[in-house]
């Protein structure tokens, strides 16, 4: 009997103590590796992001600061230049743990797999785009060390100066464009933006180079011209077929459409509606509808003044019912499958027009202006076939609003502002760069900026505690972490 017990104990002691433990601690629900193509598609989805940041940084702040949108709702801080730190940092809160983390991991994998250069180029262009949004919105941001906690063991990345980020982004675009040729990349259909079409990616790389080059106009006009020249020589977008956008689907919804589904507060800003009305713009009934009944008749579309609460609104207009104002036209714009647009041929045309005005490059300014207006009107069919604008209407618009060489920069920038409705990141950046259109600031009691339109959005709040040294270094270089501090290229 005792022998049996001893044997039993021995078996328990030695045999059972950690048999099979190694295998037990491998997660059966999670793979240890996935294909690079899956990561690429994920990066494209993460760049469009979700409702969270499109609501806060995109709509609540930038769309209202840029006077595309207006509302009395108190939490729409951009309308009144008040400060909500969490809203202001929402893009960086999502991008770094989504797009940046994944694109760095993707590039790491492509390097390890010694993938073809054109695949790396596509990943690098996407990385530049993501960082350009971050740095344009916040200024100095983590760049060279970001997203590398696993790859390089960096837990507290430094904030790179925007001047250095720009230099590197432009270099990345130049190298990427050079690495791309023609034909289809190995990503193939996993590239849900361009289907792996290398030529389109190459044109995108140059178009982004043109955009980033022009951003430098205030701080370094010579560099601005040099990069614009290089971009144009390399070949930029040539038609609406080249538009850089993500087509959403029912299960991967457009974040801005989700905002419209959840939030009934936004109205079309009086500034924007007045622009469309005054120009007799055929986009008016496509972009706007009356909140109460969806009417798109021009007479029913009243713009909503920015920077008011309801008491002030009633005092100013006598109107109590905010539903009598125009809102974004949900029938056209708010489908969950709607495209999320990042750069368009129309924008490129306007930039070419501007380059021609400034430096005589990029082709005839008036032609480019006309191309830009035409493309901006035609591109709306991306949202809906119902948004098609007849060529005759476009022609009539151009006839009534012809290119004005004497006032070209303002006119081009104002059209750019109208054409980038809903891509508010770009609207805000281009407005800061050009100063046009001339937006009249609001001065709501208790606002944070002394009645001036913010020049940037602020950093993630807990960086001050967690990544204190790097955060403080950024402030020392750039200025206080407030809404009125200007980023490097905006000086």
């Amino acid at each position: 009997m005792k022998k049996v017990i001893l044997l039993l104990m021995m078996a328990l002691f030695i045999g059972a103590c950690d048999d099979g433990f190694d295998e037990l601690n491998v997660n059966p629900t999670k793979p240890a590796a996935i294909a690079a193509a899956n990561k690429l598609t994920a990066v494209q989805k993460f760049i469009s992001s979700e409702r969270y940041d499109n609501w806060r940084a995109g709509m609540i702040y930038q769309s209202t600061m840029m006077q595309h949108i207006a509302t009395t709702a108190g939490y729409w801080d951009g309308d009144k230049y008040t400060w909500n730190r969490g809203y202001a940092s929402s893009l960086m809160d999502r991008y770094y743990t989504g797009a940046i983390k994944t694109v760095e991991d993707l590039i790491f994998q492509l390097d390890n797999e010694e993938a073809p250069d054109e695949m790396k180029a596509i990943a690098r262009i996407l990385r530049v785009f993501a960082y350009s949004r971050l740095t344009d919105l916040h200024g100095d941001v983590p760049y060279s060390e970001a997203g590398k906690a696993v790859i390089e063991g960096i837990f507290l990345p430094k904030y790179d100066q925007q001047s250095e980020i720009y230099a590197d982004m432009l270099k990345e675009l130049e190298e990427s464009a050079a690495a791309l040729s023609s034909g289809t990349s190995n990503f193939g259909a996993a590239d849900v933006m361009y289907g792996g079409d290398q030529a389109k990616w190459k044109r995108l790389a140059n178009s982004l180079m043109l955009r980033l080059g022009l951003r430098l106009i205030k701080v370094d006009a010579a560099a601005s011209q040099a990069w614009a020249t290089k971009a144009i020589a390399g070949g930029v977008m040539t038609s609406n077929d080249d538009i850089f956008y993500l087509q959403h689907d029912g299960n991967n919804r457009n974040g801005i459409s989700e905002v419209f589904a959840a939030d009934g507060n936004p109205r079309m800003s009086k500034t924007f509606i007045d622009f469309l009305q005054n120009g007799n713009d055929p986009r008016l009934p496509i972009l706007a509808a009356r909140r109460s009944d969806g009417s798109t008749a021009a007479a029913d579309l009243i713009g909503f003044p920015n920077g008011l609460n309801t008491v002030m609104l009633t005092a100013m207009t006598g109107e109590e019912n905010t539903d009598n104002y125009a809102e974004p036209n949900r029938a056209i714009l708010a489908a969950f499958e709607a495209p999320m647009v990042f750069q368009t041929y129309a924008e490129v045309s306007f930039m070419l027009a501007e380059a021609n005005v400034r430096w005589g490059i990029g082709g005839d300014a008036e032609t480019n202006y006309n191309n830009g207006v035409t493309a901006a009107m035609q591109q709306l069919t991306l949202w809906s076939a119902d948004a098609a604008i007849a060529d005759a209407d476009i022609a009539a618009y151009l006839a009534a609003n012809p290119y004005d060489a004497a006032n070209a920069i303002e006119q081009i920038a104002t059209q750019y502002w109208a054409a980038t409705f809903l891509n508010e990141y770009e609207t805000f950046a281009n407005w800061r760069r050009t100063g046009f259109p001339t937006l009249v600031p609001v001065n709501f009691p208790g606002n944070e900026t002394g009645g001036t339109i913010p020049r940037r959005l602020t950093y993630t709040e807990n960086e001050a505690a967690v990544n204190a040294d790097n955060y403080q270094a950024a402030i020392s270089n750039q200025g206080p972490d407030i809404l009125t501090t200007r980023v490097w290229w905006d000086q």
């Binding site: 108190g74 008491v311 109590e320 990544n467």
Partner: protein, 1034 residues
């Protein structure tokens, strides 16, 4: 239905009872000491049987025995006597005092019963009657204030919510710090099944709350590492051993019935809001409905003036204070706890079978829970040498609409706490319009109508849990035995949550269904020997092996956007998501213990254990996945070893050193893994890294060592006693999730260098100032001080970030060199003299400048105390408990929002004539004094609102925790009825604070029970509780 079953059972039991007792004859008598003072509680047992009773408060007893029986009389501190009945119907005896017998037997690790003399460490046992008299839905809450060094925070999580129990301070920075619960020898799962975070949520309850308070025989708290070495790594936070009642000691077949009802009412004395100014913005009342919707929570309107002002629903009402909205919204909660138990003890078999029902209606309308539990404990002697025990519990719990806490969506508490005084919260009822859509009373969609939150939001948890164990014990000889024990804890929770169609922030609604399956199997094999080697020298030793295997699986289904309103079903949704989570871990162990004793006054015990952790194992890993840890402790009963002055009855010194190791809590933290998202994008698969925290492939076990010394002194014939303990423990290689910048791509990184120390002392002084035949008064005071320090985190001394509340300007943080769990938040920017700096804005309004985030307090109070008085007069008894915590702080989210919305009393100043503010102008660094215009006060306070420093206050309190007044029917009154014992108690809990530092909130009102203590943000308000308990035996 349930009540009917209970009545039926009771009736059946009554019939049984008559048949059984008719066969016996009755002996009565009195037990007293040498001087004739009755000995209440003296045991009277029929020799050779398990039939027994105890004397009442007058020393009287009644027992049914055979006519040839011999009775054994015993009482603690007195010599035992045996008396033959010989047909007498009255046997009254006296017992002589026996100082050498001042010894109790307590339940220690592995369920081994030990004399307190032999214990080289601190152990406190609480009897079942203390838990059963004033029952709380979660039985563990009954220990609050009663045991030195055991800190219990029930927090404001609702009746079905979880509790936080921490013994001798938290010792792990990121891991679980709650004790291991062992029920009838089997470790049970005490996982938290979900709690609120900064984004809101509900508390899903914990594991220990499944135990029916009426089933508890005793609770032993093993505070130190020495006591818990035999339970291994899971016991690094101490062990609480719960022994449930068995049939042992019952007088043949018996029935016990216990009923309690309690009523809970919101303690409105806590809130002290301003009642002079109403809804509005910048001093202006709403002019129309849109204005009222926009003003929402803002009480920045003019002074109440009785004028007719439009409100959110389009109706204009007098602009006056309408009364207390908190009192209006919450209903009186009720809890019924009914238990019927059948017990029996006969040759070779004892059992206890109980059925219990708990029905709670919580204070938020339409919320509450029901818990039914069935428990069977049997012991069978299967042969001369073989004994088998089977314990089984089946618990069915159904929780309806557990209150949402913290953030505002779906959280009724936010509105009840912030609604302006001129808006009667009843006007928000019903919460839905005729189409089922939420009637929103503000333009902020994230603020939910509280009636809509209560009646239209839906959440239901249905829990089915089986805790069962069996043990077989084989005795080879009278000194050598082998015990095998297997226990299973199988817990399945099915959870449904519905955000209804028509919800403001989610107009089309959504539904989620989750099934959580936890399964734990624990097996032990123990060979034990107990042998007297010589007259004076004896050995007690054991060796054992243990295997603990835990699986956790979740199945999640989600549906978004109901297609048609009203049908809250997954099938009726536009988008669907599904996911599965799975984790599995094992711990294998071998252990041994050796106790040597000399002459029953000197004891020394050694233990050793080696644990292997699957969570530290990984293919190719080179660092060890196991750890060995020893302990030693000793006890010297000086009063037995040496001559002592007469006043000293008992004096014992004890001391020990122990180590205990632990692995990573969760599996799969060693390697990088990926995930594929459930919904391909345009048909293309998408995926990325699934780890949110940087994994660490080299994790090794953490280790906690503890040194403890203590003293146990009893004097003046046991009338005064002291129990003192000092301890010092240190955790090294703690597995810590250190803070990383989110810009690194990860929110945290797993490090293995954490170090935490706790030092503290505990005392218990108890005395019996008065003890006469009819009256006695017992008093006891316990207290503890613990200093928990964060010694290290990682190489870089990184902070470890814990939770933050919705205000996001403050966070619980572990910082090297500071106390465990400090409150770190935004401070005022001050000049060198401490004067507050302001930015003067364009309108001339001074705005407080946000200073650095610094330590504003410590979330865990270091001092805890409890003060108990018990009185007995004849058959009446009264117990009172006062408890207190000192030295901690709490951040109040409620006060933050009360400032910002102008409902706090402090915002009254200057509403008519302006507020004078002095400070330093941040632009010039020069002092200024200015008057903030009344309409700008909203801006001024709105800025103060961001400064967490303003809202961190002391959480000190002294609370009149509990009082009960009981009456036991005298034995004589029961002579001619079938009942053997009847007790009725009136009970009340949480009646009032004797002192309290913080305004408007309950200092114990944190919304979650994890390691982040010291954050308050719209949990359930504190309640007062009144009730009645009746217990019958027959």
């Amino acid at each position: 239905m349930n009540k009917k079953i209970l009545s039926f059972l009771t009736l059946v039991s009554l019939l049984f009872f008559q048949g059984v007792t008719a066969q016996n004859s009755t002996v009565t008598g009195t037990v007293s000491d040498d001087s004739g003072v009755p000995l209440p509680g003296a045991n009277v047992v029929e020799k050779g049987t398990s039939n027994g009773t105890s004397a009442d408060f007058d020393g009287n007893y009644t027992i049914n025995v055979g006519s040839n029986a011999t009775l054994i009389f015993s009482s603690l501190g007195y010599t035992t006597r045996e008396v033959a009945v010989n047909g007498q119907s009255t046997v009254s005896i006296t017992l002589a005092e026996d100082a050498s017998q001042l010894d109790e037997v307590v339940v220690t690790a592995l369920g081994i019963k030990k004399s307190t003399k032999a214990l080289g460490y601190s152990l406190t046992e609480v009897g079942g009657e203390e838990i059963a008299t004033v029952k709380t839905p979660n039985a563990i809450n009954s220990l609050q204030g009663k045991i030195a060094g055991v800190s219990i925070s029930q927090n404001s999580t609702g009746a079905s919510g979880s509790s936080r129990v921490v013994i001798r301070g938290a010792s792990s920075l990121s891991g679980n710090n709650q004790p291991l619960y062992v029920v009838d020898g089997i470790p049970i799962s005490n996982d938290n099944n979900g709690s609120a975070s900064l984004w809101g949520g509900s508390d899903g309850g914990d594991g220990i709350s499944s135990i029916n308070p009426d089933d508890i025989e005793s609770i032993s708290v093993l505070k130190g590492g020495a006591a818990s070495a035999l339970y291994g790594s899971r016991a690094s936070g101490g062990v609480i051993i719960i022994t449930t009642k068995t049939g042992q000691g019952s007088e043949g077949f018996g029935v016990e019935v216990s009923s309690q009802v309690t009523f809970d009412r919101v303690d409105t004395s806590l809130q002290d809001f301003q009642t002079e100014y109403g809804q509005g913005l910048r001093g202006v009342a709403p002019a129309n409905t849109a204005g009222a919707l926009e003003a929402g929570f803002n009480s920045w309107g003019p002074a109440f003036n009785g004028s007719s002002v439009p409100q959110w629903d389009g109706v204009s009402r007098p602009y006056d204070y309408t009364g207390n909205n908190v009192d209006r919204f919450y209903r009186t909660g009720t809890t019924f706890i009914n238990t019927v138990a059948l017990t029996d003890a006969k040759e070779g078999l004892t059992y206890r079978f109980s059925v219990s029902d708990l029905t709670n209606e919580d204070i938020i309308p339409n919320s509450g829970f029901n818990r039914k539990s069935i428990s069977l404990n049997t012991t069978a002697v299967l042969g001369k040498k073989l004994t088998q025990q089977v314990n089984a519990k089946y618990i069915i719990q159904k929780v309806n609409n557990a209150a949402r806490l913290s953030d505002s969506p779906g959280n009724a508490n936010v509105v009840a706490g912030l609604i302006p005084g001129n808006v009667n919260i009843n006007t928000l009822n019903p919460g839905a319009d005729e189409n089922g859509a939420e009637r929103q009373f503000t333009d902020n969609v994230f603020v939910t109508n509280p009636y809509f939150a209560a009646f239209n939001f839906r959440r239901q948890d249905i829990r089915n849990r089986i805790i069962a164990s069996t043990s077989l014990r084989y005795e080879f000889t009278d000194w050598l035995s082998l015990t095998g024990r297997v226990g299973i804890d199988n817990d399945v929770i099915k959870r449904v949550g519905v955000t209804p169609f028509g919800t403001g922030f989610q107009p089309l609604g959504s539904i989620s269904e989750q099934e959580r399956r936890t399964n734990q199997v624990d097996a032990d094999l123990i060979l034990a020997a107990n042998r007297d080697i010589t007259d004076k020298f004896s050995i007690s030793a054991l060796v054992g092996a243990n295997s603990n295997h835990r699986k956790f699986e979740t199945l999640n289904l989600g549906g978004g956007e109901f297609i048609v309103p009203g049908l809250e079903d997954l099938g009726n949704t536009v988008t669907q998501s599904r996911s599965r989570g799975y984790s599995e871990r094992k711990i294998g162990s071998i252990y041994g213990s050796l106790e040597l004793s000399y002459d029953r006054w000197a004891y020394v015990t050694f233990t050793g254990r080696n644990d292997w952790f699957s969570t530290l194992s990984f293919p190719g890993k080179t660092t060890p996945n196991d750890d060995f840890y020893p302990s030693v402790n000793a006890s010297l009963v000086l009063s037995d070893a040496l001559e002592m002055p007469e006043i000293i009855d008992f004096l014992k010194l004890r001391g020990g050193y122990s180590e205990v190791a632990g692995g990573a809590q969760d599996p799969y933290t060693l390697g990088l893994t990926y995930q594929i998202f459930g919904n391909p994008l345009q048909g293309q698969p998408t995926g990325n890294i699934s780890n949110g925290s940087v994994p660490n492939a080299n994790l090794v076990a953490f280790s906690k060592s503890e040194t403890e010394i203590g003293l146990d002194l009893r004097m003046f014939k046991n009338r005064l006693s002291f129990d003192l303990a000092y301890y010092s423990n240190e955790t090294t290689n703690d597995i810590v999730n250190v803070a990383t910048s989110g810009f690194s791509g990860f929110n945290g990184a797993s490090a293995n260098l954490g170090k935490v120390s706790n030092k503290g002392f505990e005392f218990l002084v108890s005395g019996t100032p008065i003890q006469t035949a009819n009256f006695s008064w017992n008093v006891s005071l316990n207290g503890a001080y613990n200093e928990g320090l964060v010694v290290a985190t990682d190489d870089a001394d990184s902070d470890v970030n814990l939770d933050e509340p919705r205000t996001r300007n403050v966070r619980i943080t572990h910082r090297v060199g500071e106390r465990y769990g400090t409150i770190v938040g935004v401070s005022y920017e001050r000049d060198a003299n401490g004067a507050i700096k302001y930015d003067i804005d364009a309108e001339g309004v001074p705005r407080a400048v946000e200073g650095e985030r610094k330590i504003l307090g410590e979330g865990v109070p270091p001092v805890t105390m409890g003060f108990t008085n018990s009185f007995r007069y004849k058959n009446f008894n009264m117990n009172m408990l006062i408890d207190a915590k000192f030295g901690g702080q709490i951040f109040s989210g409620t006060n933050t929002l009360l400032y910002g919305n102008g409902l706090h009393k402090n915002t009254l100043e200057g509403r008519e004539t302006g507020l004078t503010v002095s400070g330093i102008d941040n632009a010039t660094d020069l002092p200024f004094t200015t008057t903030v215009a009344p309409e700008d006060l909203q801006t001024y306070w709105g800025e103060i609102n961001d400064i967490a420093e303003e809202f961190v206050e002391d959480s000190d309190y002294i609370k009149f925790r509990q009082i009960s007044l009981g009456y036991t029917l005298p034995a004589k009154a029961l002579e001619n009825v079938f009942l053997t014992n009847v007790n009725i108690s009136l009970i009340a809990s949480n009646l009032f604070y004797i002192s309290r530092s913080i305004d408007n909130i309950d200092p114990e009102s944190a919304y979650a029970t994890g390691n982040s203590q010291g954050l308050e943000y719209f949990g359930l308000p504190a309640t007062r509780n009144y009730g009645l308990t009746v217990s019958l035996k027959f």
